[in-house]
Symmetry: C2
Amino acid sequence: MNRRMPLSGRRSASGDWDVPLVTRLRGFVDLSAGEAQELHSLIEAEMSVGRRRDLVIDGYEFKKLAFVREGFAARYKLLRNGKRQIITLILPGDVVGMPGSFLDLPTFSVITLTDMKMDVCSLDAFVELSHRRPKFGLALAWLAIQEATTYAEHIVDMGRRTSVERLAHFLLEIHARLTMVGLADGNAFDLPISQEVMSDALGLSVPHLNRMLSKLRTDRMIARADRRVELLDPEALRRLAHFQPAKLAGIPGPLKKGAELAS
Amino acid sequence: MNRRMPLSGRRSASGDWDVPLVTRLRGFVDLSAGEAQELHSLIEAEMSVGRRRDLVIDGYEFKKLAFVREGFAARYKLLRNGKRQIITLILPGDVVGMPGSFLDLPTFSVITLTDMKMDVCSLDAFVELSHRRPKFGLALAWLAIQEATTYAEHIVDMGRRTSVERLAHFLLEIHARLTMVGLADGNAFDLPISQEVMSDALGLSVPHLNRMLSKLRTDRMIARADRRVELLDPEALRRLAHFQPAKLAGIPGPLKKGAELAS
DNA sequence: CGAAATTTTGATCACGTTCAACTTCAGTGG
DNA sequence: CCACTGAAGTTGAACGTGATCAAAATTTCG
């Protein structure tokens, strides 16, 4: 099911490399079209994979960075008792191989939840580029920080939020992340995942998750049809979930516009 | 209680800057004495603070990196319902301000649990150095990745491990992290924190944590006296906790000369 | 269409919370 | 030296959230 495609890239009108990761990076670093191009030149393959494909397997070497262009995946760990915990959903703009590629061996697995398209480069190539262009090393740090921040919020979810609060927080987070890469449609967004996946992400059982979903539905906070979610009352959801969005700061110094004068 | 001290630094016999963070960095990047010195030159203050001091406050700007030399702290979030979740314990070698300094405003607080000594520099200065020495930007990324990996394991703790398993995992993790910076004494280590702190780190109530502690004690897996912990049966603990240590890979490329042969 | 996966509903049970009281210990002042 | 204080640790009883198990209803898909 993995097939290689010609390295055409996706170009905007201005000839820029226009993928969700670049959108995300531009939220905190000034990337010229040329620099985006340098990043693009690292891509050694554009991959399309089907649903339910293992991308990273706990314990098996993986040293790539795969920038997700389309589709959903999950980073998870399987315990020996058979229980699965999903650490985070991987969305367009996210990087498969973070953190797995930075460890001797990954301690988590990644599996696609839908068909997925990604641009793949090797970690070595990225690091090599970072030597010539320190900005990319810093951008990597910023991405990792954002990952850690998201995880931190998940810890709060699991530790101190009740099941409804947790579900509400989950929906708000996904909505915020999709909005950031331009994939939300106002207060609605596609969420093409089963309740089993959601329950593993939230550390709940499927029946209980189901009940909490209907609770949010009967309380008129959300609507769910097909595999879409609509946030009917975002304000109430935010209050319920104690939702506090975190905004990544820009990389300081000569990298930011208006500071080009510094040597 | 904050007092400045002369910028003497801590030097090893070889004149190297010898602090836990450098030990940690050397686990994945080749740092010459000169480079450690460059890092040291960023330090604008060596601070000593007492117990129970807020270092970072949720919602109030903080743009420093404080490298912990001695002492314990906790990164946490307080919900509006009064519940507290500790995201992670901050140990010597860790960085206060990660991730808070990278956000417009921190979304978590940090409080010291013991007296603490740290070396403080501004994030701007660190980024500026990373421009001249890309290695430091990459090292920052590696540190952030390690932070994310630790958090990921905490998510598994809270979501899919029972309370005893969680406690066992917690003790093993702290032991591993202290060992990494040379602060464990074989299978024993100082853990100068109250059960309330532990319960907030594990998302448990104090009484229940207490029961699980006595369980591990009566099962002869750990001993706890004063504020020390001894792992009496590390193997049994690892089995119980499904413990899987993650080892950070070295930064690839020209940075890691001959490191493949070492260790 | 039939088979499989997913969603929904119900009944029972257990893990961990809550609340309360009691103990231990270190520090402080009479 | 003892009384008092406050923080930390320990124990017990009742309760509730969410798990577990089971089965039915519904959707998806070969």
